[in-house]
């Protein structure tokens, strides 16, 4: 590692038990400085345990963690949470209910300059609300105060544990965008843990997909979505289904059509998302005949379930302005250039 700049967070060989069960199973993870990284996975995958180990609330059974190049967990090394300079934002903000907004923010900078309280409250756009009590704020405001409180002592990293999960759907998107901009502007290394893949992809510059205690893939959001490295990642991120195919010399053959692919020769599983297929309009050649057997209407687009003559079914995403009635016979075709085939 000599010569390369230290990672903001460097996790190596981390093992964490929750009670008797293995929550984190030998994770290696490097977090890039100055950007938002999300850790996404199904509930119980160990993502929260990983985050809490970084914050210092879980004692790993093995492995090491370094923050800004300083070891905080390792063999014979344990830095308690209050000396890690790691800011944490919880699900419901966890603002201290007996302290005002300003007192909450001041809690972490005891003895520091009073101007810092106003500064971070201004950063989250709540400069006027310092005298309020937490229960007098809306859910979104509470979450912004929680971010301000975490930022106040100038931590090395900010950790967010499912911070938007308790906000209702319409509010969630707005608060999420607010918080993303605040953290971007602060230019602070941020790790966001979420089970919501849309949140993970839209907020972060890098995404780590986790399952069963292991990190499956770390990449930019578009790479995670378009170029999943394993069938597990493909299935977890976005809709889609795996269909059988055979590969020979970079070309696959499946019931839904043929095309170019990455993958080894032989039998494989082709990963198809609904938007990888299209219903051909009248007058276009090619495609496979199929019957529309079901429909989910979303407004801007439509998910049609179609059945081939051979009995196989798949979902196809279409624009709502072009759909044919259910039970129509259509022809479907693959529309991407390059596909992923998993062995």
């Amino acid at each position: 590692m000599i010569g390369s700049p230290p990672k903001a967070i460097d996790v190596a060989g981390l093992v964490v038990y929750r009670g008797d069960s293995l929550a984190v199973d030998g994770v290696d993870l490097e977090i890039e400085p100055g950007i938002i990284t999300s850790i996404v996975g199904p509930s119980g995958c160990g993502k929260t345990s990983l985050l809490r180990a970084i914050a210092g609330f879980e004692r790993p059974a093995a492995g090491s963690i370094a923050i800004d190049g300083e070891s905080v967990v390792g063999p014979d090394r344990w830095v308690p949470p209050e000396r890690r300079r790691v800011g944490m934002v919880f699900q419901e903000g966890a603002l201290f209910p007996h302290l005002s907004v300003a007192e909450n923010v001041r809690y972490g900078i005891r003895g520091g300059p009073e101007s810092r309280v106003a500064e971070v409250l201004g950063l989250v756009g709540l400069a006027e609300l310092g005298h309020r009590m937490p229960h007098e704020l809306s859910g979104g405001q509470q979450q912004r105060v929680a971010v301000a409180r975490a930022l106040a002592p100038s931590p090395r990293v900010i950790l967010l544990d499912e911070p938007f999960v308790n906000l209702d759907a319409t509010l969630r998107e707005r608060v999420r965008e607010d918080v993303r901009q605040i953290l971007d502007r602060a230019g602070i290394t941020t790790v966001l843990v979420t089970h919501d893949q849309e949140e993970a992809l839209s907020v972060a510059r890098r995404v780590a997909v986790m399952d069963a205690g292991r990190i499956l893939q770390v990449d930019a959001p578009e790479d995670i979505y378009l170029r999943p490295e394993s069938a597990r990642v493909a299935e977890f991120i976005g809709d889609g289904q795996l269909v059988p195919c055979t590969v020979e010399g970079g070309t696959f053959v499946s019931a839904f059509g043929t095309g170019s692919c990455e993958g080894t020769d032989g039998d494989g599983r082709l990963f198809l998302r609904p938007e990888d297929l299209e219903q051909l309009s009248e007058g276009r050649d090619g495609g496979v005949p199929a019957t529309i057997v079901g429909r989910r209407f979303y407004g801007h687009d439509v998910l049609d379930r179609v059945r081939l003559d051979s009995g196989e079914e798949i979902e196809v995403r279409c624009l709502s302005s072009t759909v044919l009635p259910v039970e129509s016979v259509v022809r479907i075709a693959l529309r991407r250039r390059l596909y992923r085939v998993f062995s």
Binding site: F57, P81, P97
Partner: protein
């Protein structure tokens, strides 16, 4: 609404629920009003008696050095007991909820179990071990020149007997509060750079205030109304002075005036707690997962030593005294049957009191919960007057009242039951209210729309659904009636004895062998309801499962 236009079956069924929905059965309303009036009769009578004599007479009875001394002693006792009880309960609750102490649940149960000992048994145990002829005193005096025998009488003894056996009220509330406190608060604090101590005092303790205030109020009220411990340990507080004034002088105005001061003191405590609690911010976060437990490390053995010593003092010691003297009693040839009569007396009155009290609480609660109005809620609120009325005050008020207006009731079991109802109606109301509030009124509306009358709905739908809650309430009233001393002592018919009066009179005379067997029976009867109705619910989550972490 006017009568339904058509009286054909189906059309009627559509019309009538609307027609009589807002009305509450006048019969039940009458019962509720009568109960509320009875519950406030002693209070009203004391106030009228004390004020009726005129301000000069009132001031002459209470503005004396005697009253000032009583007030000072009572307040000193309340302050000391609450402080010592908090000092025991707070660390105890913390170690059993938030540390990796082995066998936490067992320690928690042991920590709460002293609740089974009424104060007069606690006092008896104290005198029998640390008193002038107590075993521990004799042993110490045989080996050292230290003389401790006199210490248990007066303030020190009363303080120990009350604090060591009432702290569980605070402890159980703290356990629930600590368990329900979201660990995210502590973790936020740690992440913000605060160490363990600053986190505890800056974030945890402030959020335990509701439990601390509520528990302290219970302990304070227990202390001001206690008669058993202070009388055996000869520490002259209001209750003892009132009793003595009544016994020695039969002087109504002095007893009434002192009672009034005692009521004002109790109401003041309740109001003070209310003021403190009102300034607290409302709570929203509820623990979604188990807190991480602090490692005791090298502290493990000192903590276990502290817990063990506590259990020896407030469990092993009193039980040992009872067993030892019980065995002596058998050895000395006390007839075992002598405990039979007070046991039957206790069980009988406690059972009747439990059924009557819970039964009377039902109309009050249903009226207030299902037909809320200013009147129904006011009836429910004033029915809780007994919360602020010490047993001795209720008893004296009833004696004064019936000897003047209802002489045939004097020295009857019925009057004793009335006193129990007044004293323990608040407990029954709380239990019934929790039970009724947990039943959705949709069930009742469904029953009404299926053709049941209001009383029919109560009988076929509401009561079966609330029965477990009512039984719990009855169990609580049974338990507290079994242990009740001062009202029983004053109101019992001549010759009628309960376990409590037998223990007290034997202990007050220093005849421990006569107190031991009734004491053992009382503790044995009190143990199951104390565990099932008080300790276990408090140690479990609100949804009834023992605390376990959610999955993550």
């Amino acid at each position: 609404m006017s009568a339904p236009p058509i009286s054909v079956g189906s059309a009627r069924a559509l019309v009538w629920p609307l027609r009589d929905r807002p009305r509450f059965s006048p019969l039940l309303a009458g019962v509720a009003l009568a109960t509320a009036a009875t519950a406030n009769a002693p209070l009203a009578y004391i106030v009228i008696r004390a004020l009726g004599a005129g301000p000069e007479r009132l001031w002459a009875s209470i503005g004396t050095p005697l009253t000032v001394g009583l007030l000072a002693r009572t307040l000193a006792l309340v302050g000391g007991v609450v402080a010592l009880a908090v000092a025991i309960a707070l660390p105890l609750a913390w170690v059993v909820v938030r540390t990796d102490l082995p066998a936490r649940r067992a320690w928690a149960v042991l920590g709460a179990l002293p609740l089974v000992f009424p104060s007069y048994v606690a006092a008896l145990a104290l005198v029998a071990t640390l008193g002038p002829r107590g075993y521990v005193s004799l042993w110490i005096e045989a080996w050292t020149p230290i003389r401790i025998g006199g210490l248990v009488y007066g303030y020190t003894g009363a303080l120990l007997a009350l604090a060591l056996f009432t702290y569980p009220y605070i402890f159980l509330l703290l356990v629930a509060a600590l368990r329900d406190l979201d660990p995210a608060y502590e973790e936020s604090s740690r992440s913000l750079g605060a160490g363990r101590w600053r986190t505890f005092f800056g974030v945890v303790l402030p959020q335990l205030r509701p439990a601390l205030y509520g528990g302290s109020l219970l302990v304070a009220l227990y202390t001001v109304s206690d008669f058993g411990a202070v009388s055996i340990l000869r520490f002259n507080t209001f209750t003892l002075a009132i009793y003595n004034a009544y016994r020695a002088l039969f002087d109504r105005s002095v007893a009434a005036a002192l009672s009034l001061v005692l009521i004002v003191l109790a109401v003041g405590l309740i109001a003070g707690e209310g003021l403190l609690a009102r300034r607290l911010p409302p709570h929203r976060l509820r623990a979604s997962r188990m807190p991480s437990r602090a490692r005791l490390g090298a502290w493990k053995w000192p903590v276990i030593l502290f817990l063990g010593a506590l259990a020896v003092v407030n469990l092993v010691l009193p039980l040992g005294v009872l067993v030892f003297w019980g065995a002596r009693a058998v050895e000395l040839g006390h007839p075992l049957g002598s405990v039979w009569q007070p046991a039957v007396g206790s069980l009988g009155v406690a059972l009747v009191a439990a059924l009557v009290t819970v039964g009377l609480s039902i109309p009050i609660v249903i009226w207030a919960v299902r037909h809320p109005s200013r009147l129904s809620r006011a009836v429910e609120r004033i029915s809780r007057a007994g919360f602020a009325l010490p047993g001795i005050v209720i008893a004296l008020a009833l004696v004064f009242f019936v000897t003047r207006y209802l002489l045939p009731l004097y020295q009857t079991l019925a009057l004793l039951i009335v006193a129990y109802v007044i004293r323990f109606l608040p407990e029954a109301l709380a239990a019934t209210q929790a039970a009724v509030a947990s039943v959705s009124r949709r069930f009742e509306e469904a029953a009404r729309s299926l053709g049941q009358s209001q009383l029919g709905t109560l009988r076929t739908m509401t009561l079966p659904l609330v029965r477990p809650g009512l039984l719990a309430g009855a169990g609580l009233v049974f338990l507290t009636t079994m242990k009740e001393l001062p009202a029983t002592l004053v109101l019992r018919p001549t010759g009628f004895e309960t376990l409590a009066t037998r223990i007290w009179s034997s202990a007050a005379e220093g005849i421990y062998s006569q107190a031991a067997l009734p004491g053992l029976v009382l503790v044995a009867v009190a143990l199951p309801p104390t565990y099932l109705l008080v300790i276990r619910p408090a140690l479990e989550d609100r949804d009834g499962t023992t605390s376990r972490g959610g999955d993550r």
